[in-house]
């Protein structure tokens, strides 16, 4: 959907090559693209303004103006500025005298309860004894949700039902933690609008009562321009000490995080990267910067692949490729696994530089459901012997396979040819004769 910024800048500068040095007007054109790209990534427009001004100042300097590859130089400057703005990954600052108290706050639906469980699990893995406390007495079944997550993870949950006062629950939870020697208390508060005065006052009261060591704002990576308003209000009310960015497993470019970081100065501490309770990661500034730039997210692609293909499978496959014993059975398995990862066109989007390459080739290879099903039908109509050794498939076998799979002999021929090509490619790839496309990761 969105063109990668690097593709765009390269387009702009391609026409300027051989012209010697760039003019300030050329730089302005590039700045317009950067502005647009950041706005599309949901970076707040005020933040975009100051950001672009900083980048421009650096770009007018010699390193870009006299470069032979100004497009790449500009991207480099933008990337560096993004990293500088996002800051280093910050750790949780827990108290020396337990229990440490962590207060989670945020808008409705940002993912506080799920994050509470994820955080508790992560802390337990570090040797802590966490206690979760259910302070959301408003949303129906929010308490049940936390209790149920606690049961799943075998982590204790303190709750007093939905009739109690959240401030009191918080205080009692801390008492309970002291009694049971819990080292961390995670307070899961109700989602609230930053303009809801009564609810913001409640949050302040909770903070004043238990004096948390960490107040973490849980923010949805998909939030738009309004993210800064909400964050500012929360920060004003309870002095936020860190941010957890949720739903990073989607394809939002996450510009809101940059805005919140810039406006409040609060560091980003964790990212939520999936629905499972262990899908919480320490914040990676570099990955977010790449995403905001629309440069694809290779790590996400690798993770996606890992989700579907076990290490064992991968090793087996690698061996088969090396020893050239890759047969039609493996081909079928392979195809099924790739399909589990999602449509090919979507995968291609995750690879930097691939988008441009695909455009030149006239679109991504079409591997739709129908085609996959046809290939599946053809292969499953073969005998085991035929699958393992396709060279024995002669004319009469081809006719039988076509009949059995409801396809034509031409279809069978096409598949067998494709498979032969694939085998050839694998031999080249494993013997190192084939080079990966330019711009491929691992340069």
């Amino acid at each position: 959907m969105f063109e990668a910024l690097s593709d765009r800048l390269n387009d702009i500068f391609t026409g300027l090559r051989g012209k010697g040095t760039l003019t300030e007007r050329d730089v302005d054109t590039a700045m317009r693209e950067i502005r647009l790209s950041l706005l599309e990534a949901d970076v707040n427009f005020k933040v975009v303004k100051s950001f672009v001004a900083r980048v421009k100042e650096r770009c007018i300097g010699a390193e870009v103006m006299q470069s032979l590859t100004p497009g790449q130089q500009v991207v480099k400057v933008v990337h560096e500025e993004l990293l500088a703005t996002l800051g280093e990954a910050a750790r949780l600052e827990l108290s020396n005298t337990p229990p440490s108290i962590i207060l989670l706050a945020g808008l409705q639906g940002s993912g506080k309860t799920t994050t509470a469980a994820k955080l508790a699990l992560a802390l337990r893995k570090q040797g802590h004894h966490p206690l979760m406390a259910a302070l959301d007495v408003y949303r129906p079944a929010a308490i049940d949700q936390l209790i149920s997550l606690g049961k799943q993870l075998n982590i204790p949950v303190y709750s007093e039902g939905s009739k109690a006062d959240p401030v009191q629950i918080a205080a009692n939870a801390v008492q309970e933690a002291r009694k049971n020697a819990n080292t961390v208390v995670i307070l899961d508060t109700a989602g609230r609008l930053h303009i809801d005065e009564a609810m913001m006052t409640e949050l302040q009261h909770i903070e004043q009562r238990v004096k948390p060591h960490e107040v973490l704002l849980v923010a949805d990576a998909m939030t738009g321009q309004d993210a800064v308003h909400a964050a500012e209000e929360f920060h004003r009310a309870v002095s936020i000490t860190g941010m957890i960015l949720t739903k990073m497993d989607g394809d939002a470019r996450g510009g809101a995080a940059l805005s919140i970081r810039q406006v409040t100065g609060v560091p980003i501490k964790y990212m939520g990267t999936g629905e499972k309770t262990d899908a919480l990661e320490v914040f990676h500034p570099d990955r977010l910067a790449q995403r905001i730039l629309g440069m694809g997210d290779v790590l996400s692609l690798i993770e996606k692949a890992q989700e579907q293909i076990s290490e064992d499978d991968a090793k087996k496959l690698e061996k088969k490729m090396r020893t050239a014993t890759f047969n039609l059975d493996d081909f079928l398995n392979q195809m099924r696994q790739i399909r589990k990862m999602g449509p090919l066109t979507q995968l291609v989007e995750l690879i930097p530089g691939m988008r441009g390459a695909m455009k030149q080739m006239g679109g991504a290879p079409d591997m739709n459901d129908k085609e996959v099903k046809r290939i599946e039908a053809i292969i499953t109509s073969m005998t085991r012997q035929e699958r393992q050794n396709p060279s024995i498939i002669d004319g009469s076998r081809r006719r039988r396979i076509a009949k059995g799979s409801g396809t034509t002999v031409q279809d069978v021929n096409q598949l067998l040819n494709q498979f032969k090509e694939m085998q050839k490619m694998m031999k080249q790839l494993t013997s190192g004769k084939m080079r990966l496309p330019k711009g491929f990761p691992g340069k």
């Binding site: 959907m1 502005r35 647009l36 706005l39 599309e40 990534a41 949901d42 427009f45 808008l107 409705q108 639906g109 940002s110 993912g111 408003y138 949303r139 129906p140 079944a141 929010a142 049940d144 949700q145 936390l146 209790i147 149920s148 997550l149 799943q152 609008l193 930053h194 303009i195 949805d220 998909m222 939030t223 738009g224 321009q225 309004d226 993210a227 308003h229 909400a230 739903k247 497993d249 989607g250 394809d251 939002a252 470019r253 510009g255 809101a256 629905e275 589990k340 990862m341 999602g342 449509p343 979507q346």
Partner: protein, 318 residues
């Protein structure tokens, strides 16, 4: 002009709806769009005026491309028609904003045939369960009966959440165990509703990120099963979209559109300071219309989305 802005009439709710929409956009009015009107009140329109105008739209999450298109169109009209006054210019922009949103004519849910199945879909935390309860209450006001299907069998306590809402709105909730097959829940709910001649089955599906292929396939299956359980039933898919969402809303809508052919959008959480400008971009790029808006935490904070009134209310200053 008066005729152009006249709305489809449902007299018994008009006033209430208007109040709710007004209430919802109050914050917006006080903010960005108030300033748009102010801009046009300045007598001389300069280059800066248009730039600022574009920025104000971007700030409302309209998106840089759509914002630029809107401003350019308004600007061309102002130049071509040699308009001078700020009021004329404001009307030009207003007209284009309404145009982008297209027609708000759609068959009202409350008029749909008995047996209609409504799938509530959307990403995690967009407000599907709350919107399900509100929509139930809304349909009940038209004396239509509703069954609820607890198809979010994944998230902890999601079934309980729907049950509590079911008790509050007095609608029967068809549910299985946690981690059960959501399609089976839908099958049971549709069959039960069919036997008893219940007007609607509203299916509260689990939140899913539109990039999760398996979960999107599961959603497709839910729709398929809903249709198979009652081949005569109409299956309507409503995407619940959080008004605070930025440009990712377009990708979300696109993906859900491809998966379950979204008929309309419920724009939730319009009671904050988010401008919901994303509605412009979504319609502009995908032509998926907004049908309803969620305007608060109460059960009746829910209203049909009226484009003309919405845009008009955005421009109202006093």
């Amino acid at each position: 002009m008066k005729n152009l802005f006249r709305r489809r009439s449902t007299p018994e709710v008009t006033e209430e709806e208007r109040e709710q929409i007004d209430h919802a956009v109050q914050k917006t009015k006080d903010g960005v769009f108030n300033r748009i009107s102010d801009l046009f009140r300045e007598s001389v329109i300069t280059e800066d005026t248009w730039d600022e105008l574009e920025e104000l739209l971007i700030q409302a999450d309209v998106g840089p491309v759509t914002a630029s298109t809107l401003v350019e169109s308004a600007r061309k009209d102002v130049e071509r028609e040699e308009l001078h006054t700020s009021v004329e210019a404001e009307t030009a922009l207003r007209r284009h904003m309404v145009e982008v949103l297209g027609s708000d004519e759609h068959e009202p849910l409350e008029d749909m045939e008995t047996g209609t199945v409504i799938l509530m879909v959307g990403v995690n935390g967009s407000g599907k369960t709350t919107s399900t309860a509100k929509l139930t209450h809304y349909l009940q006001r038209y004396d239509r009966s509703v069954y609820l299907a607890a198809a979010d069998t994944f998230r902890a306590a999601a079934i309980d959440q729907l049950r509590i809402w079911g008790e509050r709105v007095k609608a029967r909730v068809v549910a299985h165990q946690q981690d059960a097959d959501p399609s089976a829940v839908v099958f049971d709910a549709v069959k039960a509703a069919q036997q008893r001649g219940v007007d609607f089955v509203i299916v509260d599906t689990a939140g899913r990120l539109h990039t999760k292929f398996n979960l999107m396939e599961e959603l497709q299956k839910i729709k398929r099963v809903a249709q198979k359980s009652n081949p005569d039933a109409r299956v309507v898919s409503l995407l619940v979209l959080d008004a605070t969402t930025g440009q990712n809303a377009i990708l979300q809508a696109k993906s859900f559109l491809q998966t379950v052919d979204v008929d309309g959008i419920i724009l939730s959480k319009l009671d904050g300071t988010a401008k919901g400008g994303v509605a412009f971009s979504v319609y502009n790029e995908l032509k998926v219309p907004i049908w309803y808006i969620g305007t608060g935490e109460k059960i009746d904070d829910f209203a049909p989305f009226n484009h003309l009134e919405f845009v008009n209310a955005l421009f109202e200053t006093r």
